[in-house]
Every structure is written in structure tokens, then in C-alpha cells.
Subunit: 252 residues, 2 copies
Amino acid sequence: MALEEGRAVTRTASASATEKLLLHHKEKHFTAGDVVRDVIMGVSDGLTVPFALAAGLSGTSAPSYLILTAGLAEVAAGAISMGLGGYLAAKSEADHYVRELKREEEEIVTVPDTEAAEIGEIFSRYGLQPHDYSPVVNSLRKNPQAWLEFMMKFELGLEKPEPRRALQSALTIAMAYMVGGMVPLLPYFFIPTAQKAMLASIGVTLTALIFFGYIKGHLTGNRPLLSAIQTAFIGALASAAAYALAKALQAA
Amino acid sequence: MALEEGRAVTRTASASATEKLLLHHKEKHFTAGDVVRDVIMGVSDGLTVPFALAAGLSGTSAPSYLILTAGLAEVAAGAISMGLGGYLAAKSEADHYVRELKREEEEIVTVPDTEAAEIGEIFSRYGLQPHDYSPVVNSLRKNPQAWLEFMMKFELGLEKPEPRRALQSALTIAMAYMVGGMVPLLPYFFIPTAQKAMLASIGVTLTALIFFGYIKGHLTGNRPLLSAIQTAFIGALASAAAYALAKALQAA
């Protein structure tokens, strides 16, 4: 009985009660900033491939300056490929969204019953019956703008992309890649003997990979230590493969 | 009047009518297979960076075999970085999903009113009132499993990842990268003079980039011609940057 009363009170308190609930109980779901995610992506790749390339070439007869040239050329090419490629991909995603939006908009006007049926189909996947969801459907039908946004999100799962994000993302990734790539290449600036430069590069880069992998794990909500080991492992494996391949080609 | 009758008839026909509507009116929303998307990603990158690296080094005094070594080392390192990196990223996404699932599961048990309030908050963004959505909320509250899945999808926007996809995706991307990378490097196998090999490489790779960009545009629902031009442009820009950089370093 007290429980019934409690529920009645909660329902009548309605708006203010729900607000209180939402404010007081702040759920800690992980949401990394887009910029952070782009930096992580860029630096991770930048630390790995230029490192592996330079280490691989250090096993050949190539002098330091040539290895450095190869490494820097790769960093430039990689940064452009990732940055520009990412930008154009984001732009085409935005175009895709606009096209899907127009299609849904048209369908809401021309075949509203089909669209309403689709909402029903989505809800029924959660065991909901028509008498549960038809007030929602009917209310949406009266508000075409809201109906459109609802279809975009719940039927197509498409989020509205922000225009400036594409450019910001591309620049962030490209710069992060360049910064990451410089780390393993710096020793080759200062140490003329390739093999010695490689040893320094290994030390510097593995340290950076471990450090960076740790941060990455922490930010993505995964175990930082595991992430550090995995990140360093990828770098080690990639450079070992490059080194072995270069040695094999030199012998051939 | 006739319209009212029409609507009444549609409503009473309920299930069979909606089924008919959904079957007869098949909407053509674009859904590329995951494998196709991975192949596109891998080949795109493989065509671009190894091409640019080799072209860049062709402007130095490095002989063909050394350029080939650098290119192949980069392909090996890049394939491992993309493949293994992608696999681990997918695995940690799956772990993230499981953690969020457990958190929601717990909250549904410990703070159900907060969770119900969250559903209400989501619906209210579409102009829906409590009297519209409370049948949905009440029905979900009675079915914790459905409620959980609903929260995962509509509050967190998280899809249930498939375990085998991570491995398949990694292997696909890595192999696609290697195939893509071989295209610009093949001329260096056969033509000992670096500058001549580079000319052949430019011809072969730009053709591949245009062809591939066209397919990519078609598959992603974007204008194929524009996609072809953009893809080729990225390759051209990346190789021009690598070439200019290598030339500048050689002068220094």
C-alpha cells in the first residue's frame, strides 16, 4: 500500500522528480572527446609505421640520411593520406546523411503508413505491443520534423554530422601522425651510423608506445597496462617484420 | 469522412496490413558489407602511401632495389599496424560494450526510476509527452531483458559486436593493404632505373586509384566520378609531398 502511494506521489511530482533523479544520479558513461580520439589515432599510427620502416632499413646498407629521408617521406605521405582521406570520408558521410534525410522526408510525406509501420516494427523488437507504442507513433505523425529526426536516429542510426568536425578531425589526425612519426626518426638526425641510430630509436619509440598505450587505455576505459603492452607489441612486431623482410631482400 | 474510415480500416487490419506495407515497399537504404568496407579501406591506403614513399625516394640517389626494400618494409609494417591495431581496437570495443551492458543491467535493478526517467528524457527530445510514452516505459519495466537492450541501443547507441568480426576485419584490412601496396611497387621489381620505374609506377597507380575510387564511390552511394578524382588526388598530393621533401633533404 505504501509502495502504491509512493508511486502515485512520484508520478504526480512528474517533471521536477525526474529532473532530480537525472541530476543526482550522474551515470559515468565513457565519452572521449573527438579531438582526443583523433590525437590517439594519429600518434599511434605515427609512432608505429615510421619506426618500423626506419628500423627495417637500418638492417640494410642504407646510410642514416637515406633512412631519414625514407622515414620523413613516409610521414608526409601518411599524414596527407590519413588527414585528407579522413576529411573526404567525413564529408561523404555528411553527404550520405543529407541524402538519407531527404529520402526519409519524402517517405514521410508519400508513404506515411509505411513509415509508421517501421516505427512499430522497431518497437516490437523490444516486446512492445501496438497498444504500448501507438500513442508514440500517433504523436510523432502529428509532428513531421520530430518524426523525421526519430526515423533518422532510431531506424537508420544516423547522427547529424557537424560540418566543422570533418576539417578539424583531418588536421588533428594529420598533425598527430607527424608528431608521432618524428619520435622514432629523431635519432637518425643525430646519429650517422644507422645501426646505432636504430638502437636509440628502439629505446625512444618503445618507451613512447608504452606510455601512449597506457594513456590510450585509460581514456578508452580499458585496462591501461594491457593497452600499453598491446601498443608496444604492435610496434615491435611491425618493426621485426620490416627488419626481417629488409634483411631477406638484401640477401636476395 | 472517407479518410477517417480508411484510417479505421487500416488500424483494425493491424498486423497483416503492416506486414504488407513493409514487404511491398522496400526502401533502398545503402548498407555496404563489412568485408567490402574493409577491402576498400585497406586497398585505398595500400595504394597511396607505398606509392608516395617509392615515388619520393625515386627523386634521391637511391637505387631501385633499395626503394623496393623501403616500399615492401612499409607495406609489411603498415599491414601489421592496420590489421593488428584494428583487431585490438575492435576487441576493446567489444569489452567496452560488455562493461556498459553490465552497468546498465545493474542500474535497471538498483535505480529503475532513474533509468525510466532517462527513457522519458530521450522520448521528450522528439516532442513526446509522458502520456504518449509511459505505456512504452511501463511495458519495458516489466521485461528487464528488453529494457536493457532498449537502453543499450537508444540511450548509449551501442550495437552488440560480433566476436568473429574483429578477426575477419583485421585479416581483410591487412591483406587488402598488402595487395594495394604491391601495385605501385611492381615496376621497381622489373625496372632497375629508379626514375623510369617511378614513371611506370605513377601510370599504374594513378590508374588503379581512379578505378578504385570509382568503385568506392559507387559502393558508398557517392558520385563515383568525384570519388575517383578525390582518390587519385590524394595519391598525387601525397607522392608530390614525399618527392619534394626527399629532394629538399637531398639538397641539404
